[in-house]
Symmetry: C2
Subunit: 355 residues, 2 copies
């Protein structure tokens, strides 16, 4: 039976003496006093049960269309806003996904973060993020403050010397670690890792195959990147030059610039740079000294920064599997029951004119 809501009394509670809810005061200026509008409040105002209100608001079938319409109007008029916390508590799930990341330094990190967030949004999740705090204890506190609010947490950065077992002990959430945890953790955690070696081996292989004779590696010596460099030679049954490794533990423009003289002095005719920023530092030096790229020196980078395609000559680089990572993240979050394990995605050589 339809209900004429107009004839119902406006809701005014003062339970247990404390008027926690104020009545609606839709004054001349159409301003409403502060209040929390709940389902029960709508139900009481409309003179129906909560069941009818949820049915109307969720557009469930069954239920008198006229009543439903009126309830919807009333809800709108009262300014009903569902309380997500209450819903989460009752449902024991949440579509808020937490992400812990360190401050964005390299562009590729913040791009990955963006992409994951967009992917999750498209799937109906609400990504939130917090900065990685300075200590494991603080991280634990943060995660505690999220219990019941998030059910999945993505770590897009995890300090090498923190023990996940300790930090996460007893905190039952769905954890995903990106590019940070060793394979041996795969029996307990969900890992998404990046295979840097393959892309680098392809890139360096291309340098070899295109006839370059003296090929340098410029970047951190302690890095999986070096493995890719050596693999390219090994696969072809040859060896790199003895002085091929030009160590640069820092990966920024100025360090590339600083490393460049060694390349020129060593008469190298090609270089793999550990990041595009290193490569662009080398570019600048070559530019200053009139060294021609790629004629005299072929250059290839790593990370595939946005700008790399726009420099002159366009810089060859190696792209991270960002799309795949983001998709995998979304999958692991949607199918929360998937067991621990490791997914490794290859990097990809992007050839441009610099080599």
């Amino acid at each position: 039976m339809p209900i004429d809501i107009k004839h119902q009394r406006q809701y005014t509670i003062a339970n247990d003496g404390k008027a926690k809810y104020k009545s609606i005061a839709n004054d001349g200026n159409n301003r409403k006093e502060e209040m929390t509008v709940t389902l029960k409040m709508i139900a009481d105002t409309a003179g129906v049960s909560i069941r009818s209100v949820t049915r109307a608001l969720k557009g469930e079938t069954g239920g008198n269309p006229d009543t439903c319409r009126k309830i919807r109007e009333l809800a709108k008029e009262l300014g009903y806003v569902p309380n997500a916390a209450a819903r989460n508590l009752r449902m024991r799930t949440s579509n808020v996904v937490g992400m812990i990341s360190s401050q964005d330094t390299a562009q590729v990190i913040s791009r990955r973060k963006m992409l994951i967030q967009r992917h999750l949004e498209r799937e109906g999740y609400f990504p939130i993020s917090a900065l990685l705090p300075s200590s494991p204890a603080l991280l634990r506190k943060i995660l505690l403050s999220w219990t019941g609010l998030t059910e999945s947490i993505i770590f897009s950065s995890w300090p090498r010397d923190w023990e996940p077992d300790e930090v996460l002990d007893g905190l039952l959430m769905n954890y995903i670690f990106i590019d940070n945890l060793e394979s041996r953790r795969a029996d307990k955690y969900k890992l998404i890792n990046i295979d840097r070696e393959s892309g680098i081996a392809t890139a360096v292989g291309h340098l070899i195959d295109s006839g370059r004779k003296r090929i340098a590696y410029c970047g951190p010596e302690m890095s999986t990147r070096v493995n890719g460099f050596f693999r390219a030679f090994r696969e072809r049954g040859i060896e790199p030059e003895a002085d091929a490794i030009i160590d640069s533990s820092h990966l920024d423009l100025e360090h590339g610039y600083a490393a460049a003289p060694a390349l020129i002095a060593g008469k190298f005719d090609a270089v793999f740079a550990g990041t595009d920023r290193l490569a662009l530092g080398i570019y600048k030096y070559c530019n200053d000294k009139g060294v021609k790229i790629p004629e005299t020196l072929a250059v290839t980078g790593f990370d595939n920064d946005d700008t790399s395609a726009y420099v002159s000559p366009p810089l060859s680089s190696i792209a991270h599997p960002e799309e795949k990572i983001s998709r995998k993240v979304a999958e692991l979050i949607k199918n929360i029951k998937l067991p621990p394990g490791e997914s490794i995605f290859p990097t990809e050589f992007i050839k441009r004119e610099s080599c």
Copy 2:
């Protein structure tokens, strides 16, 4: 009366037939089966009431010390983790603070974000952040997903053409807008704004007072920055040169480089650049052309990027009131009852060798 917890039966529920909680299976490997440990569960296992459990866990006074200790041990053993969502729901407050920001482009933005987060953490809040979505409707959805989880929201970026009233209508949270909303909104919202004019007037005034005759402004023509530029002259009863405004709506290095020729051709002897990045673009051009800074051209920037103190010569700049902003944010969040209004903080000229 103390209780010997050891003699209590382990908790095993199967209410309404569905075994929602599994019993503790502390097997030989000390691995526990997945479960949600609640206060009630601890209370039942210990054979006490919930009241006693909370007293023990919160360290309230009163209560048998021995019982309390045992309850605490039991809670630890069971791996009790409080559910923040339930707490928030009951308490009708939360110490999670939301922050909406666009992707960090300028360094100053991400620095401000960091600083605010650190300040809030120190005050016992848990800042989370989400990216500003592409549409007002999506933003509303995000905020809806946060109802009951956060009670304060900081907008560290707000698109000029979005109407806050529409997006936030009916969503009762404590909103704080940083550097983005016009003063006229101050009757309804809490605004923290940055007075760019004062710092710029000081900087340009310094250029004038140090004897520079032809002073240029390089940056967006439609900007409060221009006002500061003109103010410096007005305060001294003089006028800038007719061709002083060199419009550059973009604020990055390459645009500074592109704008520099006009400075040199116009024989300017000083320039205020709208950002440090613009200034560094000008630096590069001057470097390339052998123009001496500050002898031939005095340069001063805006934003006080980290690197500006390290370039040569060190770049004078204008610092944002980041500390004050962060403190004000924390204050507005702690004292949620403070009325709407606007706080304006001045920028500060930092003199270095470039002028």
